[in-house]
Assembly symmetry: C2
Homo-oligomer: 184 residues x 2
């Protein structure tokens, strides 16, 4: 959820910043409210032919988890630049056909904006360039297999996208419209 | 997810505390890692006959959302005490038959422990006692109707419980075992 405009930053962390503001309550009194901001991220639904790239990642304090190519935007970086850079660094794949899907930011006390892109016709153009805190292997899956990832508790994707995937599993019409939305 | 034991608190907020630690990377170098701790909460699956209590809540900066009775534990309060107190304050209902279901704490960079309880045979014993920041109405729903709440993007329940509800909608066996687990 978006942080209210009048909120002031009271702490700047590595990933999260803490914001406070004076919130009027239902009875006219005021209380200090708190929200967090996590720097914005960009994620990519990357198509190689009719399959989607899923990453199996490992980080130093985190066991193996599946996810989409993507990550935190650098300062001053545009969402599209971040999407292209992360896809290339994490997988070695590139595309000349990127489309913006939408902005995800789940309800709750954290402003955690994610910009989702489709990349079509991805081609392997380079080797991976990983940070010291990343181990990543690339898997190509069909759209049907992609949908099943929402059922894995460790799958890291924007929360609303995970719910859209569950809805697609429950409702054939929603499956068709999600497939279209994600470029399939 | 649990915060590593060696992590140190670097900021104490109203809801969230920020923790840092030095994490060894895959190549032997070290980086400062960050996680958040949100104070623990307790939630209740409260049965009135064969129906479950759902709250429709409103808060000063948050439009109407459905959820379970429950909330943040007071300092030094035990999970069961918090569950009983929140149920009574938010709904006026009480029960003499509480059972602990389990501890929920989703993967990710926030330690946000939630203790889930079942309360059977709830009876209305008091009026609501709400804070200045709460407006709550009580609805009684069947287990089938309860499961559908996971599909509402604004439903606030432990994330893993929401996924268990989705799984129950996809798989009759999981529905039967979730119903049993939740006291139905």
């Amino acid at each position: 959820m978006d942080i209210p405009k009048q909120a002031k930053k009271v702490f700047g962390g590595i990933i999260y910043d803490v914001y406070h503001w004076e919130q009027e309550m239902f009875d006219g009194t005021f209380e200090t409210f708190e929200m967090l901001r996590r720097g914005p991220t960009a994620d990519v639904i990357a198509w190689v032919g009719d399959t989607i790239i899923i990453l199996e990642q490992e980080q130093p304090n985190k066991p193996l988890y599946p996810g989409l190519p993507g990550g935190r935007m650098e300062p001053l970086e545009e969402p599209l630049e971040a999407a292209k850079r992360e896809l290339l660094e994490e997988t070695g794949y590139a595309s000349e056909d990127f489309t913006f899907v939408g902005e995800y930011n789940p309800p709750g006390k954290i402003d955690m904006r994610d910009y989702l892109f489709i990349a079509k016709n991805c081609r392997l153009t380079d080797t991976q360039h990983l940070d010291a805190g990343e181990k990543i292997s690339v898997t190509l899956v069909t759209f049907e297999a992609f949908l099943q990832y929402c059922r894995n508790p460790r799958f890291t994707a924007p929360l609303e996208l995970r719910f859209e995937m569950y809805e697609a599993l429950l409702d054939p019409e929603k499956k068709a419209s999600l497939k279209k939305k994600l470029g399939g």
